[in-house]
């Protein structure tokens, strides 16, 4: 019996793509959206839009309430002490940049910033460029043979000069949970700030900020079935208090004169200009939708899909996995076949997977690969999506080998 997602019908996008002959297996890049989110987006615009936090009029008040309701939901979703610890950004990338500029004043030349070898460019380049600007040392934690961050090496590399650790919870290439709790403990022992990249992890399971105990946690709305254009930056209150203001403009200012100004604290002080109001409201609808699902059922279903993916890849000759994926996705290469050729022939057959370097060029260079194919799953995928993928893979390899 093929796996059937009980939630597939809630996602018009996946049904539309199926009707078009497209098998969508690229949810780690961006996810399809539930009808509830589309309804909320339309309802906001069609009932009269207004700016938030500014106007005293009724439409403005309504928009502000709906906007702030999403912040409340996120606070609960993350089990933050307060929703005031949640900042809306334009995306996860923009949240990392906010951190790299907002924390810059804390670092002295020679201080060390620690990342890992598997970071997405979004959690690498802002720190790399900060290190170059301020003459800091960027320390890159190596991976072990399973392509997890090597804890033994980390225990030697995280030290008294470490001022910040920024690591991914779940790699977008390797697809396995990283030992974040242990890494955070190492950093805390040296009073270093901690940043967790939850871009891939946030959609798989619920993450309790008080339990995780990181200083900052970052994820993007569009990968957890919400609209694009919104990122979420959670910060502990004492960590948020250390952030210098970064982008300047409307609504982030408390008092302005021609020659100087005073700024609001977090969260509003870090939300300069008109925020993505409709998207934030629609993200709230997505969270409502996700909240009413049976989380154990979702996790069990995603695991079953992932096992089907892993079994199918293991059953075929010449396939090498990148690391040991245990959730959400798997990346692989095929002996003697260029990933660009394979990607092209999968595309010809309506299979939407990701090929290439996955915004992790240094990792791919370290693995000695020019690219890889990545299959990634959402809660709306059926077992038949994977069956179609494997059929197409076999056809493509027949032609290419």
């Amino acid at each position: 019996m093929s796996l059937l997602s009980p939630w597939r019908a809630d996602f018009p996008g996946i049904l539309a793509l199926e009707a078009e002959g497209q098998t969508y297996l690229d949810s780690a890049a961006t996810a399809q959206k539930p009808q509830a989110m589309l309804d909320a987006l339309l309802a906001y615009y069609s009932s009269g839009s207004a700016n938030v936090h500014r106007a005293q009029h009724l439409p403005g008040e309504r928009a502000t309430r709906a906007f702030e309701a999403c912040r409340e939901q996120l606070g609960k979703w993350l089990n933050a002490q307060s929703s005031a610890h949640v900042i809306f950004t334009q995306g996860a990338t923009s949240a990392f940049n906010l951190l790299a500029y907002g924390l810059e004043h804390l670092f002295q030349p020679g201080d060390e910033l620690v990342i890992s070898a598997l970071e997405h460019h979004a959690n690498l380049l802002p720190w790399q460029q900060l290190a170059l600007r301020q003459n800091l040392k960027l320390v890159v934690l190596p991976l072990d043979t399973a392509r997890r961050i090597d804890l033994e090496a980390a225990s030697k590399l995280v030290g008294p000069r470490t001022r910040l650790l920024a690591v991914s919870q779940l790699s977008n290439v390797i697809g396995c949970w990283q030992p974040v709790a242990q890494l955070l403990a190492l950093a805390r022992a040296h009073d270093a700030l901690t940043v967790v990249d939850g871009a891939q992890g946030a959609v798989h399971g619920r993450h309790d900020m008080q339990q995780l105990d990181c200083d900052f946690y970052v994820f993007s709305s569009h990968k957890i079935y919400g609209p694009d254009g919104v990122g979420v930056l959670y910060g502990k209150p004492e960590a948020l208090a250390q952030l210098r203001h970064w982008q300047f403009g409307g609504e982030m200012v408390r008092d302005a004169d021609y020659l100087d100004a005073a700024f609001n604290p977090a969260p509003l002080g870090f939300e300069a200009g008109t925020p993505p109001i409709s998207s934030v409201i629609a993200l709230g609808a997505t969270l409502d939708y996700l909240n009413q699902l049976d989380h154990q059922a979702v996790t069990a279903f995603e695991q079953a899909l992932h096992q089907q993916l892993m079994a199918g890849l293991a059953a075929r000759d010449g396939i090498t996995l990148l690391g040991q994926p245990n959730i959400a996705l798997a990346s692989f290469v095929v002996d003697g076949v260029h990933n660009a050729d394979l990607a092209q022939l999968l595309t010809e057959q309506g299979i939407a997977v990701r090929a290439g370097q996955h915004c992790a060029m240094p990792l791919m260079k370290q693995l000695g690969l020019g690219g890889a194919i990545r299959v990634s799953l959402g809660l709306y995928n059926n077992g038949s999506d994977l069956e179609r993928f494997f059929g197409a893979l076999d056809n493509a390899l027949d032609i290419l080998r």
Binding site: A340, L345, Q349, I399, L400
Partner: protein, 140 residues
Amino acid sequence: MTSPHPLSPGAAQALDAFQQAGSWEQRARLLMQWGEKLEPLSDSQRVEENRVHGCESQVWLVAEQVDQQWQFRAAGEARLIRGLLALLLVRVNGLDSQALAQLDLNDWFNQLGLARQLSPSRSNGLNAVLKRMRELASAA
């Protein structure tokens, strides 16, 4: 189509073969066959200077003009892009600068049934190759 730049015998042969291909599998096999015809570049030509950036796989393109006529040569790591390169070269080699500038290469790939290979989101690199080719030709 009446063209001021008639097809070379090789291009006419390609057009004939691809127009008879009825399925994606046949087109893929043909592309790989054409890719095999690509004359290899030497190691000294497969260098950074000749690399075309913006391709998912590595591609190199070199150009020379002999008696006003362009002669391009190309290499690629992946087999299907090699086929696309061969189909490009068979159409453009031997043209002078003016003819090259006037040539509608979208139309050429469209006639071959390969128009989708030129869509902007494709990362196979054919678009990047065409751009590089025009830069090389206009810099001469």
